[in-house]
């Protein structure tokens, strides 16, 4: 029974990884760009939700906001931040030299943004972890001896709904068709009338939306936010994405859940200290044995960045 409970906890934990991993996989699948600002966007959303519920808008413009408003504002803020990142990372990427490390330009740029946002938050709110007030509907559901918390269940549902929705958009809508065309061949897509300059921000908006939702759900679930919270979640989401396969949305879902369950099982059998070795060892093995991932397409990301 304890084991089943642990698997369930793993799935719940995994649902946070899934949301962030889908954000990673979307940018890498369509734009061939490993966006290192995603962990910070996730952190930004959590910290913003905390700050808004505690103090309200900075400079004393408002009282502390009620939580539904604060959460919505946090998500909107994250989307805006993501669009700013797009303006300065992807917009300026030009092919000039064609050498081996040149594809890393947006990646390095996003590392720069990671430093900027994270340290600005540290300057503003300090480096300590902060407690987030519990929401009113935080109850525990008992399912035949298995305990589930309402916010966790809601996170899982939100993650699944978003991912299915995203999948539908990519498969069936006009925007989705454009995005898939860019993913396949950006130049050909442009020639055939896909306006990539208008579609690329859509990817970043979706990234911001996913990170924003993951951030606020994490804050509600675990009741604690800190400027460092993105590092751990972000790196595990990257691990999940790679295991599932770069560029595959269902791969990211599968990978995120695998990482969540692996983490819980490792804690159950070996203790909390070995989590890092288990998760990263799994990633390393996956990279050496099956670099395209479980559900990934062989060509995406290969030799490109």
């Amino acid at each position: 029974m304890l084991l089943i409970q642990q698997v369930l906890n793993g799935v719940m934990l995994g649902s946070v990884y899934v949301t962030v991993a889908v954000a990673f996989t979307l940018t890498i699948g369509v734009l061939n760009f490993l966006n290192f600002t995603i962990p910070t966007l996730f952190m930004l959303s959590g910290m913003a939700a905390w700050a808004l519920t505690k103090w309200g808008i900075p400079f004393g413009l408002s009282q502390a906001l009620p939580w539904p408003l604060a959460l919505a504002a946090a998500v909107v803020m994250t989307i805006v931040a993501s669009l700013i990142v797009e303006r300065f990372t992807f917009r300026y990427m030009k092919t000039k030299y064609g050498d081996a490390t040149e594809h890393a330009i947006p990646l390095v740029s996003s590392l720069g943004f990671l430093l900027i946002i994270e340290n600005l938050i540290r300057i503003g709110y300090g480096t300590d972890a902060q407690r987030m007030a519990a929401v009113s509907w935080d109850t525990t559901v008992n399912l035949g001896g298995l305990l589930l918390r309402a916010p966790q269940l809601i996170s899982l549902c939100v993650a699944l709904v978003i991912v299915s929705g995203l999948n539908w958009v990519l498969k069936h809508s006009r925007i989705g068709r454009g995005l898939r065309a860019i993913a396949e061949n950006p130049d050909a897509a442009n020639i055939l009338g896909v306006d990539s300059r208008r579609l690329v921000p859509v990817i970043f908006m979706l990234t911001g939306l996913l990170c924003g939702l993951a951030g606020i759900l994490f804050a509600i679930n675990y009741g604690e936010v800190s400027p460092q919270m993105g590092e751990d979640i972000g790196s595990k989401a990257i691990a999940g994405m790679v295991i599932g396969g770069l560029g595959s949305i269902w791969g990211a879902v599968l990978g995120g859940l695998i990482i969540g369950i692996t983490e819980m099982m490792t804690i159950h059998f070996f203790g909390a200290d070995t989590v890092q070795v288990a998760v990263w060892g799994l990633l390393l093995v996956a990279l050496f044995v099956r670099p395209q991932g479980l559900l990934g397409h062989h060509s995406i990301g290969k030799g490109k960045l």
């Binding site: 300065f88 081996a100 330009i105 990646l107 390095v108 430093l115 340290n119 050496f288 490109k304």
Partner: protein, 310 residues
């Protein structure tokens, strides 16, 4: 010399060696986002040999370099099968695994860290940094350095011209690992204490940024990048409080102010990174910049001009 300056010199020397450790793989076209992992390997090798067997630094430092070099060579073969973004992820994952293993090994002190008995003062890292710099400059001037540049610029053509791109990359990666081991060992002996928290993912990111901002085309780049970003915060430490007081005074505030946070230096590093990638993605110091600054070039031009006019 005061303790403050010797401290800065030590850090500067270690950062320069670390920058070259990351530079060598990057110069062959492989981004290494796991520098801290190899530095941790070196630091813990030196610390363990020194603490457990009482060996002196002249034994532990070469041993740390050997461990760094051999481990990276062993890992280079499967690792360099991956390319581009996969390589970045694999090196990143590798550093995390190394950190995790060290954290869980009781003989290495786990989360408590290890203290290192044999103390070295700042002369040793300084001399090591100078030697490493000279070595890398020499290396880049040899035929091997030329093949490294070629592998960076176009691996397919280089392969067609009969250079073993894979061999060059493995060699550069292992040499980088050995240098990271050296940097780690020097760290262990000069700070007399190692703990795994000092070798985290952020360190790998900073070192890679030093190198990329300095420029990867010549051996001047990492030297400049590491020196600039080590000395910048020291300069800011003087300027920032005064700037803050000035701004506060402009807003009619007086009284004691909290000193500005360390975090500002990372914000500045981040802003510079974003700007550099937008306007000068090849790094500050490039091959053409060096050419332009070389003495004698202008006179050569003039000679040609005179010949043409004559």
């Amino acid at each position: 010399m005061s303790g403050y300056w010797t401290g800065i010199l030590t850090i500067l020397s270690i950062n320069i060696i670390m920058a070259y450790a990351v530079f060598l793989p990057v110069a062959t076209g492989q981004l290494n986002l796991g520098g801290a992992g190899f530095q941790a390997l070196g630091a813990y090798t030196a610390a363990f040999l020194s603490a457990a067997f009482g060996l002196n630094a002249w034994v532990t430092i070469p041993a740390a370099m050997a461990v760094g070099g051999l481990v990276s060579m062993a890992i280079a073969f499967p690792l360099l099968r991956t390319k581009g973004v996969y390589l970045v992820l694999a090196t990143f994952a590798l550093a995390e695994v190394i950190a995790g293993v060290i954290l869980n090994t009781d003989a290495l002190g786990g989360a408590m860290g290890l203290s290192v008995p044999d103390f070295l003062d700042y002369h040793v890292p300084l001399i090591a940094a100078v030697l490493v710099t000279l070595f890398v400059f020499y290396l880049m001037a040899t035929r091997f350095g030329l093949t490294m540049r070629a592998a960076h610029d176009d691996d397919v053509v280089t392969d067609l011209l009969g250079v073993s791109v894979r061999g060059v990359r493995v060699a550069a990666f292992s040499l980088g690992g050995a240098l990271a081991g050296l940097a780690g060992a020097l760290y262990a002996h000069t700070f007399s204490f190692v703990d795994i928290q000092s070798f985290n993912a952020s360190l790998s990111i900073y070192v890679l940024l030093y190198v990329l901002l300095g420029g990867t085309q010549t051996a001047f780049g990492p030297l400049f990048g590491a020196a600039f970003f080590t000395l910048l915060p020291e300069g800011l430490r003087v300027v920032m409080p005064e700037l803050k007081t000035f701004i506060a005074a402009a807003f009619h505030q007086s009284g004691p102010l909290s000193p500005p946070d360390e975090s500002w230096r990372f914000v500045i590093l981040g802003v510079l990174t974003v700007l550099m990638m937008a306007f000068r993605p090849e790094g500050l110091i490039t091959r053409s910049l060096i050419e332009r600054l070389k003495p004698g070039r202008r006179t050569k031009r003039l000679d040609v001009a005179q010949e043409v006019s004559a």
